[in-house]
Amino acid sequence: MAKVFIYPATSLILSDLVARFGHKPLGAALGIRERIQTAGVDSPPLQITPEEPKRGLKYAAVEVPSGVRGRMAIYGPLIEEAEAAVIVTDADLAFGCMGCARTDELILFSLRQSGIPILELKYPTNEEEGVQFVAAIKKFLAGLPNGGEA
């Protein structure tokens, strides 16, 4: 079982397919769950405190907006943990955790820099592309070093 970063990190389809084919999807939910389940200073709605953008300085400089740094505080550790990534490149309507284009650019760059195996593809727009989409992901995941169905 490999840890596979999914992009968009909020994707239902990628979260499902990666898990369905026996791997662990790394997405926004993991980062949010960790914060929601940790005691500390109350900071609704996501339990991201003003400290998080400061932690995000590890991934982006101080002149980068706080929202980017706060988001990177969630994604940075997940990217470091990832052993592979599946990226949908036309995910232009992913909101909230994925709602900032600058963060998204930085996430993609960090993934590509990390040297892990990456599959990049587009959302299917018809049934045949649906077949290709699922097949490509299945094949990519099976080919990972610690791949294969669990």
Partner: protein, 412 residues
């Protein structure tokens, strides 16, 4: 208790900057609630298309769609808070265009703000208070005449002002530097009463405003305790005799500056800021001290000089002071330096704040700094318009408070 004022939040980034709670807290402190206009995905796609601003960030698209839902009347709100991350260019464009769009196409009061992870509820409080006041007290703000005998006290960061009004006329004024908040307030009240030939018992209603409004409001048993954004716009259009129609009010204060776009005496959009004291009256005070003149002499001195002869950028008060000292050391005349300081402050307000509201004439300058004619001149040059400085403009907050307080006289 009246129903909570509903403020629609259009934002990108506060949850991830860790400041959403600050927004909630600021709203709660003024008995308002923040909500997010409900829309569907198809609305987002349609709205972004119709609005015509092709941004990449999905949350900015969401902001546009929510803003449009408000303007189209699909979602009800009493006011709008627009917030995006400081230093994000994409978001700044959306924030400005959306603010302008809502202002032009609806009667909803809007406040916009760019936050960092350091933004606190305290910073947002005055803005939220103004938003809720406009929503909650439209009837009070519609008042165009002062009646009976009322008093207004403005406890500002640098100075405290008091005004006594009787039958729509100013009959007494008081002015003191703010040292101890309550003591300064009492001092100005005594001055104003003495000038009016009245006693505390004659006063039928009291209004307070400014930084110390809560403290002195409690001390004086005020009927109205109100932030300075609504009070000053009201006072400005009242004193300028321009209560109907559009106008712009600029108040360069001791600690922060206000720029307010006013319609029929009610603020529509406003900004309040000043990243650094370099863009405030404080810098002019320092300049006067360095030039060895009283602050009241700085304006006439500046009018004799040429600002262009000295380069000065007061974006930061430390750098601004540095260029001031350097210019004097290099032999620049005191007149030129005074003019440059005025120009620099005007320029900072122009660049940092006036871009965030729509300038509609007449432009009315108020507050203590409006008496510095060099500053008014520099602002007029930048805006290419003649600036109106009404009589008693330095007492603006006190006058606005006294005017509005008359709505609280028994039987009114």
């Amino acid at each position: 208790m009246s129903r909570k004022v509903r403020i629609a939040q259009l934002s990108c980034g506060p949850e991830y900057s860790g400041v959403q709670k600050e927004i909630y807290d600021a709203a709660e402190a003024v008995d308002a609630e923040v909500f997010f206009p409900d829309i569907a995905l198809a609305d987002v796609e349609r709205a972004v298309d119709a609005f015509g601003l092709d941004v990449r960030s999905a949350d900015l698209k969401l902001m546009i769609a929510r803003g449009k839902a408000l303007v189209d009347g699909k979602v009800d709100a009493d006011g709008v808070f627009i917030g995006t991350c400081f230093r994000c260019a994409e978001a700044a464009i959306v924030r400005n265009e959306l603010r302008r769009y809502i202002h032009e196409h609806s009667r909803l009061p809007v406040v916009s703000y760019s936050f960092t992870e350091r933004t606190t509820a305290g910073t947002l409080l005055t803005r939220m208070e103004a938003l809720t006041t406009i929503a909650r007290r439209r009837a009070l703000l519609a008042r165009e005449e002062q009646t009976g005998i009322t008093m207004g006290v403005d406890s500002g960061s640098s100075t405290t002002k008091a005004v006594v009004m009787k039958d729509n006329k100013i009959v007494g004024t008081g002015w003191l530097p703010t040292t101890e908040v309550i003591k300064s307030a009492e001092g100005t009240v005594a001055q104003a009463l003495e000038m009016a030939g009245l006693t505390r018992e004659d006063i039928q209603a009291v209004g307070t405003t400014g930084y110390g409004r809560f403290l002195i409001g409690k001390h004086l048993g005020a009927d109205l305790i109100q932030e300075e954004l609504t009070v000053n716009s009201k006072g400005a259009v009242y004193l300028a005799g321009h209560q109907r129609g559009a106008s712009t009010v600029i108040d360069i204060g001791g600690m922060d500056n206000k720029a307010i776009s006013v319609l029929d005496g009610i603020p529509g959009t406003f900004t309040m800021g000043g990243i650094c004291a370099g863009a405030s009256g404080r810098f002019l005070e320092m300049t006067a001290k360095r030039l060895g003149v009283d602050i009241t002499e700085l304006g006439p001195l500046a009018m004799k000089g040429m600002g262009k002869n000295v380069s000065m950028n007061s974006y930061c008060i430390v750098f601004g002071t540095q260029s001031l000292v350097n210019a004097l050391a290099a032999g620049s005349s005191r007149e030129d330096v005074a003019a440059a300081a005025c120009h620099s402050v005007a320029e900072q307000v122009f660049e940092q704040q006036l871009q965030e509201i729509d300038i509609k004439e007449p432009v009315i300058m108020v507050g203590g700094t409006s008496l510095i004619e060099g500053l008014v001149y520099a602002m007029g040059q930048l805006l290419q318009t003649e600036i109106l400085v009404p009589p008693y403009s330095q007492y603006i907050g006190a006058v606005g408070s006294a005017l509005l307080a008359s709505g609280f006289i028994q039987g009114e």
